[in-house]
Symmetry: C2
Subunit: 458 residues, 2 copies
Amino acid sequence: MDKLGIDLHLDVGEPRARSIESALREAVTTGRLPAGTRLPGTRGLAEDLGIARGTVVAAYAQLVAEGWLVSATGSGTRVADVTLPPTPRDIPVRRVVDLRPGRPDLSLFPHGPWAAAVKRALAAAGTGSMDYGDPAGSRELREAVATYVSRARGVRAEAGAVVITSGFTHALAVLARALRGSGTIATEDPGLAHHRRLIHGAGLETAPLRVGPDGADPAEIPSRASAVLLTPAHQHPRGVVLGQAARTAFLAWARDRDGYIIEDDYDGEFRYDKQPVGALQALDPDRVIFAGSASKALAPGLRLGWLVVPPRLRIPVLDALAATGATVGTPGQLALADLLDRGDYDRHVRRARVVYRKRRTELAARLAELTEVPLDGVPAGLHALLPLASAREERRLVDAGLEGGLQLAGLHAAGYWHSAEGAKAGLIIGYGTPPQHAWRPALDALTEVLRGAEIAPW
Amino acid sequence: MDKLGIDLHLDVGEPRARSIESALREAVTTGRLPAGTRLPGTRGLAEDLGIARGTVVAAYAQLVAEGWLVSATGSGTRVADVTLPPTPRDIPVRRVVDLRPGRPDLSLFPHGPWAAAVKRALAAAGTGSMDYGDPAGSRELREAVATYVSRARGVRAEAGAVVITSGFTHALAVLARALRGSGTIATEDPGLAHHRRLIHGAGLETAPLRVGPDGADPAEIPSRASAVLLTPAHQHPRGVVLGQAARTAFLAWARDRDGYIIEDDYDGEFRYDKQPVGALQALDPDRVIFAGSASKALAPGLRLGWLVVPPRLRIPVLDALAATGATVGTPGQLALADLLDRGDYDRHVRRARVVYRKRRTELAARLAELTEVPLDGVPAGLHALLPLASAREERRLVDAGLEGGLQLAGLHAAGYWHSAEGAKAGLIIGYGTPPQHAWRPALDALTEVLRGAEIAPW
């Protein structure tokens, strides 16, 4: 099984469960793993790959549900005899409910209105709109985004400063390339491993900025860094807001050091207790690159994001964008511009906000029955962090979740920390993820899993 | 005006006229060039940038038409006093007819059917389809593409081998990164400068393969090269087909050298005199990476392309794709899958083929009245190359074209040649580009421009 271990090291996206799932699915569909092949045990494979056992269990469970693998008590998991590939959508899949963070409730995605927007926008667009077009994005969407982020997030933006990307991942790859003369980008600790990998892939190094109750610590910026990646409105994954003093200090650093701040405003529209904190970018549009996307407000499958770029960086950013070879298709750009211009985007965000706020409140109420330890961070976004006493307890809960039909994300196991030293444990509860009908059962199952858990503030 | 000259060095896409146009438009909209600023003369700027004067003239003309610039005889071209940015679609633009190659007649793009396909596909898709999804592409589109390229181009493909990209540009950026251990990719000479720049941007070198009447010459592959980029079905820009002996030799080289061939099948659906030559990939799917896109058959604005990747390259290609951070949005992928599955894509290609075949025939007939020199290459694709006696004559014709309301592409000036040594002159006539109503006037204008021209076989 050595070969399998190696082939599974597909490092192509977050979360890792999907990478393993994809790698296994491909290995089966291409015949690389013939029917009947016995897969390694979940414990052994998890150790080989250095990930949580629950992640492997979840991937196996999904592929069993899809019919690619068969599992029999006592004889382990084997590759199914699939002469004709099964079509997953035709199979009644018993999927465990996903409470991992990173995506909105996809059942809220407005399929009909999106298709209608494509139709309206294409009917209104001139023939030339289907040409290669401006690599920075269509004029319609750049104008609509500039108006939207100014209105909704207080960003200082004009259409000429907006660059359309295939979501934040693409934006970060572009920025890392544009900034690669810099050498090092400081990133939040804990923070998304996937973002660090993208930065490394562009030939840069990363350095950790420990995140406290007031967000990332500006005192930790190493002297070699010339850019910083932050989530100021709602830190991912801790959920805290970047404090006023830290904001001032980061901006002062950027001016003194001739550096840049990348503001990843991934869920800035979703704050439940008050008005969201305005964008850091407004305080210094020459030093802060603002990044947003439709991934949380609508759906990640749209692959639509945007940057508001300081004047001095525009040409390096457009050069880096050209080097990725990727721009976003016109129909999607024009449809999003249409929804933004009509106010439909805002209305959708408001409706979704009501749903998520209610879930957050219900989650907090349930937890209050179990523990006096509060969720970390402010009521905002689509996830909340519950601190745990140990990595062992985290593993136990993730495994117990799977047995109870829940996919849970462990903070310690999921690669958020730059290094094992000082890494803390917790559950990142993606309460925004389940479809509406599955939320209450998921909450019930979570409550059972957490009963008696060693929840403890860090 | 030194600053302008530097700022104009925006190298973000083909053709260059659009880069200059974009750079100028941005400079005006952002206020970097204030109202009233006098622009440099077209001749001087063309020399500064090392490009054809006609390219600069065309960019100025377009921006005058859009209202960003004003032009007065005797006093040159100045930045217009635009307090409110004009919306280009509201202005009656007097665009010169574009006879440059690289895109289809965009007026043929089926707006209504595309929007209907988005609607059908989203209605049929499960909720999970709007998630991040498989980075290699949606299962539906990978299956549809595998079926299509097998049927239409004789490619040996299964869904597991297909990777969806944001057009060929993205595909090439991904491949260059996946192959960057190789050091050098040999590319056709003449061939697209944009492709060489993408390869260089990934840290690789390029080496020229001179293109003769039988296509690229395999004897010229330098020993340091470990990959080759070819357009076997219809060489761009010469229009010749890769001969049988050359096909055999390239494949033998790939096997001996452990190398790869990238088959850029950019317009393989369009052959007018006989069945198109089948894909080279079918002769050795382990050595040939097949690349296609919807850019010529439907429209480049969709940004939808595909690769069929040999098994050994799949993981490197998926890693490289992840490093670009870009994947294609689900609605576009599902809509294309829908059109392919219903046969609508094939029907559209057949209809378009009739249009382009007729234009090619009319073009050849007109030229036959003017010269005995035939168009280079076979009757196929959306462009044809007319050889000229000198670069001076090429420049003269491009300038004369603009005066007659035509944008023409000069082979010598447009960066197709790896080096000035041995570079030949010609016009690459993109007969597929004009909208249907503009084709006949364009052909008339072209005939006038070419009357008395120094057309000469190389």
